[in-house]
């Protein structure tokens, strides 16, 4: 059976800088033709992973395959990828029109009309130099190149630093609209998880160079839930469950539980007047990564 194009398979990938381990033997896949969220705290290894996918860096061990081929010095694979970084994508003394002209040559699926249209959406003057752009406008230029490249694998690493909320929302809308017309593999590495999580179809959470979790977004939303109510009732209900976070406010208590809700639990909660709500992905990531941090601290004590 043929796999969907833009499939990225990573096996036992490690990257070390001297004694520092940026990625530690990670194995994961980004399914072709989906929008993936790559999440994690600063220093989790997200940017390193994305650079390795683009063959900008060399792995210390393991391998990466895109549609079954290694990206390193492989023009057939690299021409499928458009990687927009947080900053430093374009030469500061180039004009916006120079950047678009270069992108037109670099990306085989480039859509110049779409790029022109996006310049209007983000109010960018093509005769302006990159160094004259504000942080947000520079990010908008990256977003334009990423979207108009229509690359089979489009990767955005924190693409909207400095962009205002209106432009960010426009980016999400354009991304979803264009993706629905031209399905491709999109990886979004971001800290603004709540804002963008509704567009993710799959989520990978990295923590300290390891894969903490990889799930379909819908599955992930069912993986954790809050219990809220009187402290005694909540404690009673959460006994035996894997609590990843708890917060007390007066006599009420809220706990975040990792695991799937059962029908029995729903009934018990109703009886005890405890509300059940799913945990937003951003909160889940925070709880999981702080939990591993605490675990590491406890282990080192």
């Amino acid at each position: 059976m043929n796999k969907i194009r833009g499939q990225i398979d990573i096996e036992h990938l490690s990257k070390t800088y001297g004694k520092f381990v940026a990625l530690d033997n990670i194995t994961l896949s980004f399914d072709g033709g989906k929008i993936h969220g790559l999440l994690g705290r600063n220093g989790a290894g997200k940017t390193t992973l994305l650079h390795l996918i683009n063959a900008h860096l060399f792995p210390s061990a393991g391998q990466i395959r895109i549609d079954g081929e290694t990206p390193f010095e492989n023009p057939a694979v690299l021409r499928k990828i458009c990687f927009i970084r947080e900053s430093g994508n374009f030469k500061p003394n180039f004009k916006i029109k120079d950047v678009l002209e270069l992108a037109q040559l670099a990306y085989p699926n480039w859509d110049q009309d779409f790029a022109q249209q996006l310049l209007g959406v983000f109010n960018l003057d093509p005769s302006k130099k990159v160094k004259a752009l504000s942080k947000g406008m520079g990010s908008a230029l990256g977003v334009i190149v990423g979207l108009a490249s229509r690359a089979e694998v489009t990767i955005f690493d924190e693409p909207y630093i400095g962009m205002d909320v209106v432009h960010r929302q426009q980016f999400y809308d354009l991304l979803v609209e264009d993706y629905s017309r031209y399905p491709r593999t999109i990886i979004l590495s971001t800290h603004l998880i709540d804002e963008v999580s509704k567009v993710f179809e799959g989520v990978v959470i990295l923590d300290q160079g390891r894969v903490l979790m990889q799930e379909e977004t819908d599955t992930l939303r069912q993986k954790a839930f809050y219990l809220r109510g009187e402290a005694n009732q909540v404690d009673q209900l959460s006994q035996g469950l894997k609590v990843i976070h708890e917060e007390k406010l007066g006599t009420t208590k809220e706990v975040a539980v990792l695991g799937e809700r059962s029908h029995e639990l729903d009934l018990q909660a109703k009886q005890l007047a405890v509300t059940i709500e799913s945990v937003p992905i951003q909160k889940l990531m925070v709880y999981l990564t702080t939990q591993t941090e605490r675990g590491a601290q406890h282990a080192s004590v």
Partner: protein
């Protein structure tokens, strides 16, 4: 060829501003000197564009890789395509500078003669460095070779700096200086000097060709495992 186009365009976009600024300044200075010579006929002076062009080539070569390699990788180019795009860019720039220099020398030599300034203001070229019977085509070839030599030599230094950082570049430079100062090394070079002296221009060009090839091979080796981060950070 399609794969080289983004790199060639990147190199062109990178160099075009400095190229036009350089020639604008050079032309402005020359015109100023011509006016000065016309105004003050008792003054005896001259200027050479050759060394300015050579200095430009050295500076352009040194900065070229740092200014283009990471952006080229960022545009999903392979190191292989970047390298050959860079080599084509070097050839193009060396040709452009040699042709521009020749036009400049021809134009201003004729202009100063026509204005009767030949005695008090001179445009120095290779004719004034002992090559009096040199033809224009040979001047073109020599300037092209010197330009390309400087471009590749300083690009190698720039590539080492990009890949390994200042420390390694300085160590290599120091080792080179120590080698040159070592009498046994100088003695080993004597047969080469003798070989060159038999037919100075031709053999210097051949030697320059050898150095250019050596530099290009070294640049390829240095860039083979270079990453998007400069200075050996990653």
């Amino acid at each position: 060829m399609q794969a080289f186009k983004p790199v060639l365009k990147l190199v062109w976009f990178d160099i075009r501003a400095s190229y036009f600024i350089f020639w604008s300044i050079l032309l402005a200075v020359t015109i100023f000197n011509v006016i000065l010579a016309l105004s003050l006929p008792e003054l005896r002076f001259g200027m050479s564009a050759n060394f300015a062009v050579y200095a430009y080539m050295a500076a352009a070569g040194f900065l070229m890789i740092k200014e283009t390699f990471p952006y080229s990788l960022g545009m999903s180019s392979t190191r292989y395509h970047y390298y050959w795009g860079l080599v084509l860019g070097f050839l193009g720039l060396a040709v452009a500078q040699a042709v521009s220099l020749l036009i400049y020398v021809l134009l201003f030599s004729s202009l100063t003669e026509w204005l009767g300034l030949a005695d008090n203001f001179r445009i120095f070229s290779l004719r004034q460095v002992g090559l009096t019977d040199i033809s224009w085509i040979n001047m073109l070839i020599i300037d092209f070779t010197i330009g390309l030599l400087l471009l590749t030599l300083f690009s190698l230094a720039g590539a080492i700096l990009y890949r390994f950082g200042w420390l390694i570049l300085l160590i290599i430079g120091m080792v080179g200086i120590v080698l040159i100062m070592t009498p046994s090394f100088r003695a080993a070079l004597e047969p080469l000097v003798e070989w060159v002296s038999v037919d100075l221009v031709l053999r210097l060009l051949i030697l320059a060709g050898g150095v250019i090839l050596f530099c290009l091979v070294c640049i390829k080796l240095v860039l083979r495992r270079a990453t998007i981060e400069a200075g050996g950070k990653r």
